[in-house]
């Protein structure tokens, strides 16, 4: 085993740190709405123009072609510089649509979409879940009927993050009439400006409406937009989910270490009900130290996983282990921050920039539900890593 960074890694870190030190936006991201999406696009365009977009994407697709380890370094430097959070309206495009197209897309799809994704020109959303198909994704019923060189789509999708700002959607539909479960599905690129699409925002407990319902009425999508094969969409969808469950949260997991340090700083400034500084309270100090140990382990797990995916190209089911570890740590940190902040914790208007700890506390449920609930992650671990008898 070996913890040493190569000269190239060290130089990359120094140059990332140097560039970020004078290029992180000085104004706060707007909390909601199209102006938030504009902020995200502008930041992504800036990264693209200065040669920082797609750190680990292959060079032939406009990325920097660097290693997974250098991607880790990049995210560590983003967190250190307190750069805009990477889970924003560009997230789906960069973290799953892009990698899915690289793995399964046609040359024409790659040539058209990948540069637009990297430059922030195209925002994407995900159309997998439905009102009747959440954890049980294979129960989905949104149907597509092939007519000539088009697929005509009817149905509804649920929990579609940022659908109002997205240009394209990764849409999973049932294209074989009478097919069941994982069979007969197709993964297709849906242009969100097509006629027949209606987006209805769903307000959440976070006092925002980042998620939406999307309705499709006779939406005509070209067959050329199918990613993978017609009827084999489940395989493409699993590739998409493996990116999300594998390294899709890499920015969050590395940022947690930075946030624990901020909580330790905070505990040195605020007082508990006893009048003492919070950091002098042994139970608080122990919780902080335990969280620090958790974030150190998350980093070690990330580095181990990166070595694995640098070797194989695709993240494995270990992503489910990572997601359980990261969401539990996120939640414990958020609860501790609530204890530290006392009454101030209860001031909130939905603005992540203004009330980061409260926002992250509320986000902890999104984190442990979205992208496969923690219960589904445990099922995946039981099936695929522990080979236990099937529950279903």
């Amino acid at each position: 085993m070996d913890l040493r960074y190569s000269d190239a890694d060290i130089a990359f870190r120094a140059s990332a740190r140097n560039w970020l030190s004078s290029n992180v936006p000085s104004h706060r991201r707007p909390a909601h709405g199209p102006e938030a999406a504009r902020f995200d696009r502008d930041w992504q365009r800036k990264l693209f123009e200065h040669g920082w977009a797609g750190v680990a994407w292959p060079k032939e697709y406009g990325g920097l072609g660097l290693s997974g380890l250098q991607q880790v370094i990049w995210y560590e430097e983003l967190a250190r510089a307190r750069a805009p959070h990477h889970i924003n309206t560009t997230y789906v495009a960069l973290m799953h649509a892009g990698p899915t197209l690289i793995a399964r897309g046609t040359d024409a799809q790659k040539a058209f979409h990948l540069p637009r994704i990297l430059s922030g020109e195209s925002l994407w959303c995900q159309g997998f879940s439905e009102p009747g198909a959440g954890s049980d994704l294979a129960a989905l019923t949104t149907r597509g009927v092939i007519e000539g060189d088009e697929i005509v789509v009817n149905g509804a999708k649920m929990w579609t993050t940022d659908a109002r700002y997205a240009d394209y959607q990764e849409l999973l539909i049932r294209t074989e009439p009478g097919s069941e479960r994982h069979k007969g599905l197709t993964w297709v690129i849906c242009d969100m400006s097509l006629p027949g699409i209606e987006v209805k925002p769903v307000r959440t407990m976070m006092m925002d409406a980042h998620v939406n319902m999307v309705f499709y009425e006779n939406v005509r999508i070209p067959l050329a937009n199918v990613v993978g094969e017609v009827g084999k969409g489940w395989s493409t969808a699993l590739a998409t989910l493996s990116f999300e469950r594998g390294l899709g949260f890499i920015g969050d997991q590395l940022e947690l270490a930075e946030r624990v340090e901020r909580a330790i700083e905070l505990a040195g400034k605020v007082r508990t009900e006893t009048g003492k500084y919070a950091i002098e309270d042994e139970s608080i100090a122990q919780r902080l130290a335990a969280l620090k140990a958790d974030t150190m382990a998350i980093r070690a797990m990330t580095l181990a996983e990166i070595a694995e995916s640098d070797r194989t190209g695709v993240p494995g089911p270990n992503g489910s282990v990572m997601k359980l570890m990261v969401t539990a740590t996120h939640k414990a940190l958020s609860e501790l921050a609530g204890d530290l902040l006392g009454w101030e914790f209860l001031e909130f208007d939905g603005d992540r920039g203004a009330h980061p700890w409260t926002y992250d506390y509320l986000w902890s449920w999104v984190f442990s539900i979205a992208g496969g609930t923690n219960e589904i992650q445990r099922e995946i671990i039981a099936d695929r890593l522990l080979n236990l008898p099937k529950a279903r």
Binding site: M1, D2, L3, R4, Y5, S6, D9, R13, L69, E76, A257, I264, E282, A285, Q286, L288, A289, A290, K292, A293, D294, M296, A297, I298, R299, A300, M301, L303, A304, A307, E308, N318, S320, V321, L324, M325, A328, E375, Q377, R378, E379, I381, A382, L385, L386, N387, L388, P389, K390, A391
Partner: protein, 323 residues
């Protein structure tokens, strides 16, 4: 940067696993009078060089590193190996004469593990051992035990005899070095990771064969989900253990912080996993004939050695981390 054992490291781990299963396997603890490391077993372990993995070759060791030391003790943990194994290995790193070092390395003399407790010494290990080693964060002392009066106390932990000594026995050697504590903390963290892993293996195997209500218990989410959580604890503790072992090998500036984090996570993983293993087995899990209690009792001892929860967390809180 590589955080998985390379082929040489993996070979050492495999050889250690085979040897320990064969010579000091957990099954031994179901026979009477098998606590501690006997003089014969000690000679066998020493003859194969396992006591000197991290010791330089010029001192008679294998000249390997903290990484191999950790990999060996992880396997020792799975077998609930007696703590004599660790005491002997640490004593080989003490500044003693060449002849004594050779006797320790080869297992000709024995060393118990001493813990200071309110003016007394609690000594775990073979009561006939000639020496006992007490290790503190900044130094260590090797005591001569011949003729020292010791009171045997009942030991909760089947792998180790416990004796208590009032006052301090004569000192054979002292060292003012943090290195021994580091090797001890690393080895106990590694043994605890081995225990956490063994606990999951036991319940995962049982869940595939035991049936209730007409189904294998591994098909019930009430069993599957706690098993998945056991794996999360293992993966976190093992990744941090590997990170810490490698940081020590490379003299990384934050090695101690990484080690404290590893010990904390290992304490937690071993205690929680060996607990869940008992519970998920149901009634059979509380019987003496089963291994479940052995793992948990061993975890209770090891989680107190070389940094219990409060101590490691207090150390860790304000340490800065270098990249």
């Amino acid at each position: 940067m590589n955080l998985a054992p390379d082929s040489g490291e993996a070979q050492i781990a495999e050889a250690a696993a085979d040897f320990l299963l064969g010579s000091l396997g957990r099954a031994r603890l179901h026979r009477v009078g098998t606590a501690d490391l006997s003089a014969e077993q000690r000679g066998e372990v020493g003859g194969l060089g396992w006591f000197g993995l991290a010791l330089p070759e010029q001192s008679g060791g294998s000249g390997l590193s903290a990484v191999e030391h950790a990999l060996f003790f992880r396997e020792a943990g799975r077998q609930c190996a007696p703590v004599d194994l660790l005491a002997q290995s640490l004593a080989a790193n003490m500044p003693v004469g060449a002849a004594l070092r050779e006797s320790v390395l080869g297992g000709a003399v024995g060393v118990g593990l001493a813990v200071e407790d309110a003016g007394t010494l609690r000594v775990y290990g073979n009561p006939l051992a000639e020496f006992a080693i007490a290790v503190r964060p900044q130094g260590a002392a090797l005591y001569r035990m011949a003729g020292v009066k010791a009171e045997t106390r009942p030991s909760l932990v089947p792998s180790s005899t416990l004796r208590v000594i009032a006052g301090m026995p004569p000192v054979e050697a002292e060292a003012e070095l943090p290195d021994l504590w580091v090797l001890g903390e690393l080895a106990t963290a590694a043994m605890l990771v081995g225990i956490a892993e063994a606990a999951l293996e036991l319940i995962a195997e049982y869940a595939k064969v035991r049936e209730t209500f007409g189904r294998k218990i591994g098909a019930y989410q009430a069993v599957r989900h706690p098993c998945a959580d056991m794996l999360v604890r293992i993966e976190a503790a093992r990744a941090q253990l590997y990170f810490a072992a490698t940081a020590i090998k490379e003299a990384h500036p934050s090695a101690q912080a990484h080690l404290d984090a590893a010990k904390h996570l290992a304490n937690q993983a071993a205690l929680a996993n060996s607990d869940a293993n008992i519970q998920l087995h149901g009634g059979i899990g509380v019987t003496e004939e089963h291994d479940a209690h052995l793992l948990h009792k061993q975890a209770l001892l090891l989680s107190r050695l070389f940094g219990a929860r409060r101590a490691v967390l207090a150390n860790l809180l304000h340490q800065e981390l270098a990249a």
